[in-house]
């Protein structure tokens, strides 16, 4: 089997401007959504309480909402989770100390969320046989720290990858790769902002994993660019880049396809916990192909890469073992 019967190099660079305009538009749109709508952060970042419960029959969401409102909670969210028998309830952090669902410690006089009381007061209103399967309470200050740590991780990943690429290739490549990848990350975030999908810690992990993964693509193409510069003299820079992309496109698509097979499997079988994680990866993988080929390479070209940047006489060992045309 061979999916890629490509007779001659595809002139990607001829359309570089078009691709860059498309990229810029999607990027700007993503930023606009991020600014206008913002991310729907999970309670891991904002603080709050999440309670999941399972019922014997379809749960009565209205009954649950009524019980929560009677208790005087602020904007509780009640929704089905996976099936109609599973319910997820989200409360704001300040509601954890609401007297209807909390318990006051005799010594410290501090009220903390109480699962047993919540089950009696609220869960019982959703139908027979309701059982709490998961409770998660996060205080607001922990959330702030997590958000700060996440931003720091993003910065360190970018800096680390740039430094490595600058050392391995050249600064133009490292700049181009990082721009391409930030473009991916911003677009993933844009999707999460637009659809108001829940942005949790595991989604953050997925985003950072995509960052590392997507750089692979740029690295593979850049490796080829360097090799082509060495082996084939007399080609113009766009021709070299076209050749590099064309000869790696089959690998790019097959690799991403394989990874996507795995991610799709997670999306189907992984259940609600892995849902957004897999979704972030899917968007990241799709845009990863696009950005590494059609964003990073044109940027390298605009930055004015040349044969001399890459083929240094001392390091040029391969020039001796292969005849060149």
């Amino acid at each position: 089997m061979e999916f890629f019967r490509i007779k001659r190099d595809i002139p990607f660079m001829k359309h570089a401007l078009v691709f860059n305009v498309i990229s810029l538009t999607t990027f700007v749109l993503a930023v606009v959504f991020l600014v206008l709508r913002g991310l729907n952060f999970s309670i891991e970042f904002t603080g709050g309480v999440v309670i999941e419960a399972r019922y014997e029959q379809a749960a009565n969401l209205e009954g649950l909402r009524g019980a929560l409102e009677r208790a005087g909670l602020h904007e509780p969210q009640v929704q089905n989770f996976g099936t109609s028998r599973d319910v997820m309830i989200r409360l704001a952090a300040k509601d954890a100390a609401n007297p209807a669902i909390s318990r006051t410690d005799e010594q410290t006089k501090k009220a903390t969320f109480d699962q047993t009381r919540f089950a009696e007061q609220v869960i019982a209103q959703g139908g027979p046989g309701g059982k709490i399967t998961r409770v998660e309470f996060v205080g607001p200050q922990v959330g702030k720290e997590l958000a700060a740590d996440g931003a720091l991780a993003l910065l360190v990943v970018c800096a680390g990858i740039m430094a490595y690429l600058a050392m391995r290739f050249e600064w133009k490549f490292s700049l181009a790769a990082i721009i391409a990848n930030m473009h991916d990350v911003v677009i993933i975030l844009g999707f999460f902002a637009f659809f108001q999908w829940e942005f949790s810690l595991s989604v953050l992990a997925a985003v950072l994993a995509v960052l590392g993964y997507s750089v692979n693509e740029s690295v593979v193409v850049f490796d080829r660019v360097r090799e082509t510069f060495r082996k084939r003299r007399g080609l113009s820079v766009p021709e070299v880049i076209n050749h590099a992309i064309t000869s790696t496109i089959s690998r790019t698509i097959i690799t991403h396809g394989s990874t996507q097979l795995m991610v799709t499997s997670m999306l189907i079988f992984g259940g609600p916990t892995l849902h957004y994680f897999a979704l972030a990866l899917t968007i990241g993988i799709l845009f990863g192909i696009y950005s590494s080929v059609l964003v990073a390479s044109p940027i390298v070209m605009w930055l004015g890469v040349s044969r001399e940047d890459l083929v240094k006489p001392v390091r040029d060992k391969t020039a001796n073992d292969g005849a060149v045309v």
């Binding site: 205080g139 990858i161 690429l165």
Partner: protein
């Protein structure tokens, strides 16, 4: 050119064998077990306890499938849960004979008997330290708490104590000050003249090392402002955290939870994870208890002693037992509580060199203690540790003289070990600083099992899909790639089992994702070989060139992925860290398996053939036009 020396094959075989050995415990599953551990700091688990457990089980004709003994506990494995439950009850009753007493306050329970799960794997595997992967709470169910220690309160307590120290110190040295005031973060001492201030500064600097002193003027008054030195502040915080962790350990031991995790996180947080526990309210109320030390006087008037001898408890007194088990009568009135105790350290008596416990009380506690001792010279006082509403007299020393200054020494009739234990009990009885829960999670056991099933299914079907595609597209080379990928999974699980890293649901997702990414290396190699063949290279040359040329790229791309993984590991917490650990390990194993293992198999199949014309790597399509444009090979 495509042959590996024998040692390389040996390395591959050894790696695969090791991988297999350390992966196998995961297939044996877990068996019900009963864990016996000490409920008190003073009782050690040793060979005699083991023999007792064995004898009790034998006496009840309960068959164990294994008895395991380590420093902290004895674990007995059973065939089924019925036997396990029966054994738990029998052991609990035999080891804690007080269980049957109707009044819970009379019960003395030296051991904790808890239900647990033990790996079913054969002994030789366990002795190789081959254990199943350690599952996180989201996979096995349980409760998780993150406590924030209120360091301000700990420092404030310390400042209180230091204020008292200064007061006594200046009085002892006969330095006349115009007032000592405790401010929010400092202590201000006022003086009337410069000479006194200089003297005070010298004395304080000499004997209270924890304070940094600064001179100042306040109107006509001269003053010294004392603040806690940063290093002393750090020490106070570290000690507060350590003491709280010790207290938690003791309290959780009493709960009888198998394999609890109590760890420091950051500089002021404590993580508590209790697998299998489903009622967070109970845990919270037990962990959150404060002030459980009490100082009372012993009832020892002749009438009281006489009444006690005849089996009565006189009015105003209560019966408690000493650590040896002898009963003792103690007054109901509490003189001092553990709140006033700032520290307890084992040591030696300055004169007699007997083992002793040194207690430090804060300023108010010191004053109360001084009065108490002045009025009761020659009498006995009792220090009680109150746990779960029942008390035990830790020690009941005789008061010899009036004790001022808040520094108390308890000595006499103690071994060094006992002094250590008493100090630990006194220290761990109370929390050093108040704490607040900043994160709490409860995961039901069924949800845990559900998560395992979902994670497993995702990985399985994803792997199957990749395998089908690779074999269809690359034929034999695809099959080799799949074998390499399977060996990657083997190495990864073996490594996770060996390191006992905590596996969570994001960790399972990372396994799946890492496999999906690791196939990249083999795709790169296979595509490169096809390309070389397309360019007209011979089969053997194409294989060699394919692997060599692809290696640089594989390395580059793995390093960039690893950079992202490491950043996640360092800055991430919770779900992110669980993901990152597996991700990083997976990248490392994938380089070995996709390059070395797959090359080994290829060499084994094709390497020895001299005239190799065709290799099974799927269709190598050659463009009809301009074949000469491809670079020539040497």
């Amino acid at each position: 050119m495509n042959r590996y020396p024998v040692w390389k094959y040996i390395i591959i075989c050894l790696a695969l064998m090791t991988g297999l050995v350390y992966t196998t415990p995961n297939f044996f599953g877990e068996a019900p077990a009963v864990q016996v551990s000490s409920a008190k700091a003073t009782i050690k688990i040793d060979e005699t306890v083991r023999a007792r457990v064995e004898a009790v089980l034998k006496g009840a004709a309960i068959e164990t499938t294994g008895l395991f003994f380590d420093a902290n506990s004895i674990k007995a494995r059973f065939r089924d849960t019925d036997t396990q439950l029966k054994a738990r009850d029998i052991l609990d009753n035999a080891l804690n004979p007080d269980k049957k007493k109707p009044n819970p306050e009379d019960r003395d329970e030296p051991f904790t008997v808890a239900l647990n799960l033990l790996s079913n794997s054969p002994k030789w595997l366990t002795s190789l330290h081959a254990l199943p992967m350690y599952l996180g709470l989201d996979l096995r169910g349980g409760v998780h708490f993150l406590y924030q220690v209120d360091m301000k309160a700990a420092l404030s307590k310390r400042l209180d104590a230091l204020t008292g120290d200064l007061r006594t110190l200046l009085r002892d040295k006969n330095i006349r000050h115009a007032g000592i005031e405790r401010q929010a973060n400092s202590i201000t001492v006022r003086f009337r003249d410069e000479a006194t201030r200089a003297a005070a500064r010298g004395v304080i600097g000499d004997s209270v090392a924890d304070l940094a002193l600064a001179d100042g003027n306040d109107g006509s008054d001269l003053k010294i402002t004392a603040t806690i030195k940063p290093e002393a502040e750090r020490r106070v915080q570290e000690n507060a955290l350590k003491q709280n962790i010790t207290t938690f350990n003791n309290r959780i031991n009493a709960l009888g939870v198998a394999e609890p995790i109590i760890q420091q996180q950051g500089s002021d947080r404590i993580v508590v994870q209790l697998p299998g526990v489903q009622d967070p309210a109970q845990v919270k109320s037990i962990l959150g208890r404060t002030a459980s030390l009490e100082l009372r006087m012993v009832c020892e008037s002749p009438e009281e002693s006489a009444a006690f001898a005849s089996g009565q408890v006189p009015f105003g007194c209560e019966k408690y037992s000493e650590r040896g088990g002898q009963p003792i009568l103690v007054r109901k009135q509490v003189q001092l509580t553990g709140d006033r105790l700032t520290d307890a350290q084992p040591g030696f008596d300055g004169q007699t060199q007997e083992p002793a416990v040194h207690l430090s009380l804060d300023s108010q506690g010191g004053r109360i203690f001084k009065e108490l001792t002045r009025e009761n010279v020659g009498k006995r006082m009792a220090i009680l540790l109150m746990e779960k509403g029942k008390g035990e007299v830790v020690t009941a020393p005789v008061i010899r003289t009036e004790i001022a200054g808040g520094r108390v020494q308890i000595s006499g009739k103690m071994t060094t070990q006992e002094a250590n234990d008493v100090a630990l009990l006194l220290r761990s009885g109370a929390l050093a600083a108040p704490m607040e829960i900043v994160e709490e999670r409860t995961i039901g056991p069924s949800l845990g099992a559900d998560n395992i099933a979902k994670g497993f299914k995702s990985t399985l079907y994803g792997f199957a899909a990749i395998a089908v595609f690779m074999i269809a597209y690359y034929m034999l080379f695809g099959l080799i790639s799949v074998i390499a990928l399977a060996s990657n999974l083997l190495f990864l699980i073996a490594l996770l089992s060996l390191l006992q890293a905590t596996l969570t649901l994001p960790g399972i997702a990372a396994i799946a994702l890492t496999l999906g990414m690791a196939i990249d290396a083999n795709v790169l190699i296979n595509e490169r070989i096809r390309e070389e063949l397309r360019g007209g290279a011979s089969a053997q040359a194409a294989i060699a060139a394919g692997y060599e040329r692809a290696f640089g790229t594989i390395l580059d791309s793995n390093v960039t992925t690893l950079i992202a993984g490491l950043a996640l590991l360092i800055f991430g917490s919770g779900a992110v860290r669980g993901f990152a650990v597996v991700h990083c390990l997976g990248i490392l194993t994938s380089i070995f398996s996709s390059v070395v293992v797959s090359r080994g198999i290829v060499n084994l199949i094709y390497g020895s053939r001299k005239r190799l014309l065709h290799i099974s790597i799927g269709e190598v399509w050659r463009p009809e036009a301009t074949p000469s444009k491809a670079p020539a090979k040497s």
